[in-house]
Structures are given as C-alpha cells and as structure tokens.
C-alpha cells in the first residue's frame, strides 16, 4: 500500500540565487536559474549603465564595490520578506556586477519566476526597491575628464537625497 504523496510542489523549496561578478553578466544564466515547469511567468529586470552628462563631461563608466558577506545576508533577508508577502513565488535570482562597468553594459540582472505574472511582477519591483535601499553595494561614476563621484540611491535611508526619487546626489569628488 503506497502512502499518499504530498500535493505537487508542496515539498519544493524556492531557490534564492545571488552572484557578484567582475565579468559581463549573462541574462540567459539568470533566466535559466529561475526556470521552473510550474511557472507561467518569469519577470526580468536588467539595469544598464547610462551615458549621463555632468559638468565633468560624459559618464564613461561605473566602478562598483560591495561588502560581499553582507550583500549575501541582506539579499537573503530581502527574499525572505518577498516570499512571506508572495508565498507563490518560485525562484529568485540576482546577479550584480563588481569592478569596472562600461556604458551600455548591464550592472544588474534580476529575475523572479511565479505561476502567474502578477505576483512575479510586483515582487520584482519590491526586490529592486529593497536592493537599492539595503544591499551594501556602491557605485562611482567616472567621467571623460577622469573625475569621479560616488552616487547615492534615494531609496537608501541615510542618503542625502532620501525620499526624492528622481534625484541622485553626488557627494564630493
């Protein structure tokens, strides 16, 4: 006599996959990481380096650094909160660049898989908001004249531009 098997998917745990890389990011890898037969939707975000203008001229690239052990713990906590809010989420994957990123290249790729699109799309927005508010990564814009300035996310509670979602502030040079 066989025992009753649990409902399909009940014993499957969602994966949270994070990677910091000094190399070009692969969107395909991130999408593959969240793929699941039970999911009808993969919600995807790619953050790219803009060619902004400032008095120092054009942005030629970004330099990223991170407090790596704490990136892991903050992303894990963020995913815990997302899963508590949207229990149907399947898998979550974030790949973030470190080091030098040229204009036009991807600095972050994030994806969420879910049975239906609404949960995934909303969770993805929260994932990005949480990433910008709490995950210890910093970027420095480098200009044509080789000057550079550290950027600040408005989402970060201790940024001077906190609350002003259209603004980013440069702090000193």
């Amino acid at each position: 006599m066989s025992s009753q098997s649990p409902p399909l998917g009940a014993s499957k745990k969602g994966r949270d996959i994070f990677k910091l890389s000094h190399h070009r990011l692969s969107v395909e890898d991130v999408v593959a990481a969240v793929g699941s037969a039970s999911c009808g939707a993969i919600s995807l975000f790619i953050g790219t380096t803009r060619e902004d203008q400032s008095e120092s001229g054009k942005v030629i690239g970004l330099e990223y650094e991170a407090y790596e052990p704490m990136v892991q713990s903050e992303l894990a906590e963020l995913c815990r909160r997302l899963r508590a809010r949207w229990p149907d989420l399947a898998h979550i994957c974030v790949h973030h660049r470190l080091g030098w990123v040229r204009v036009g290249e991807a600095s972050v790729v994030a994806a969420v898989s879910s049975p239906h699109r609404h949960d995934g799309q909303r969770a993805l927005v929260c994932l990005l908001d949480g990433l910008k508010a709490n995950v210890p990564v910093w970027k420095k814009e480098v200009y044509e004249d080789r000057k550079a300035s550290w950027k600040e996310n408005a989402e970060c509670a201790w940024a001077s531009c906190h609350g002003n979602h259209d603004a980013q502030t440069m702090i000193g040079q």
């Binding site: 990136v71 910093w138 970027k139 550290w150 989402e155 980013q168 702090i171």
Partner: protein, 80 residues
Amino acid sequence: MVCVLYFAKSAELSGVREELLQVDTPINSQDLWTRLLGLRVLQGHVVLAVRHQYVAIDDQEALTLRDGDEVAVVPPLSGG
C-alpha cells in the same frame, strides 16, 4: 580588537580599506564613530554595520563588540 572596514567614499576619506581598532565594550556607536579616521564630511549620511547588521550612529546605540568583530563604515548605498 575589532576590524573596521571602510567602503566607497569612506575608504577614500580615511585612506585605508581596513584597520584594527582597540575598543572597550560596551561602547555606543557615537563614541565608536569618533575613533574612526577623518570622516566628518559624511556626518549624518553614514551608518555602521556590526556583524552584518546596520547600526545608526547615535549615543543611544550601545554596542557590545567582541574581539574579532567586523565593523563596516557604510556610506549611502548605490547598488542596483
């Protein structure tokens, strides 16, 4: 002895990436802040991270630091 890690703007201001600091504990985060190298321009726009938890810099925040603890200086974030 704790290890202080400096990131981003704070590393440029202090000139170092990390330093060892002898501290008595408990110590409040405000007093710890005064021991850190040359970071006045960040005042009001910086937090610390102790054992991977963010800590505000004020005199209410009493920290019990253990030997070997890591304390990070965390300027405003700009990931994502």
